[in-house]
Symmetry: C2
Subunit: 156 residues, 2 copies
């Protein structure tokens, strides 16, 4: 169920991003707020970080962390090109999908890498599945912002 939710939001977000024009990619989601391109880079960086967090491999785009997580939008100019970020988006998400599919239910309930063995004994919910829940909600949070840039959005 949780993988289906993740996949569903990922597909919806990818479709939306692919439908944005070059101009829309540079638009702010609301006046003075983050631009679409920044949110794309932010999501790539956050998803890339899931690889080491879940103990599934090394990050592939370490350089994006500083630009899209540490720093807010408009602090760094210019941002990497949209095409490069879209390629990284597809790449990271393909890698995650493959790794996710290979995890057994038991492995999902194992601890993530940023909790100690000792803490995990006391807080067994700090597992991989919880990271997936949290990152799916993070994705839908930003999807709710990205749809605002669509010209004819009447959906709530």
């Amino acid at each position: 169920m949780l993988l289906t939710a993740w996949d569903g939001y990922m597909k919806q977000t990818t479709k939306l991003l692919n439908n944005f024009s070059a101009e829309e990619m540079q638009q702010e989601i609301a006046p003075g707020k983050n631009r679409v391109i920044y949110l794309l880079g932010h999501l790539v960086a956050v998803h890339d970080d899931m690889l080491p967090l879940l103990g599934l491999g090394e990050k592939k785009y370490e350089n994006l962390r500083e630009i899209f997580i540490t720093k807010p939008d408009k602090a760094i100019d210019p941002l990497p090109p949209v095409e490069e970020l879209k390629k990284a988006w597809d790449d990271v998400n393909d890698v995650l999908s493959g790794k996710f599919a290979a995890l057994s239910p038991d492995e999902w309930l194992q601890k993530h890498t940023r909790v100690s063995d000792e803490d995990f004994k006391k807080e067994p919910h700090r597992n991989r599945l919880n990271v997936l829940i949290s990152r799916t909600n993070h994705l839908s949070y930003h999807l709710g912002q990205l749809v605002l840039v669509k010209k004819t959005n009447q959906e709530v």
Copy 2:
């Protein structure tokens, strides 16, 4: 884990709504998009609908469905007063919290009320837990929009 995620987003949303001024409650989340008051009513109506959907009771605010789910923002004028909607928000969410706390893990895996026994046999994921996953993501989707109205939001 899923109840903790629900509670966390609920608390964050409630805090945000309570911090909005009367003027901010009437603001659009982005130019031409839904107003905060509409999203508040929308979330109340959707959460109220979780009671019958989860087989946990009757809806308490049937009248809100037409205004905040069927119709888009600005189709109905005036909307119910903010204070009334906030009261309904607290009420529905208190009722849901109580009902959620009383459900056993097995009961969470039972079918929701809008799937037939036959379909549930083939699609056992159409259970209460899946409704909770979906509604938490729905909530974070709109929370991502509501934060845009905060004056000093730099968070992503």
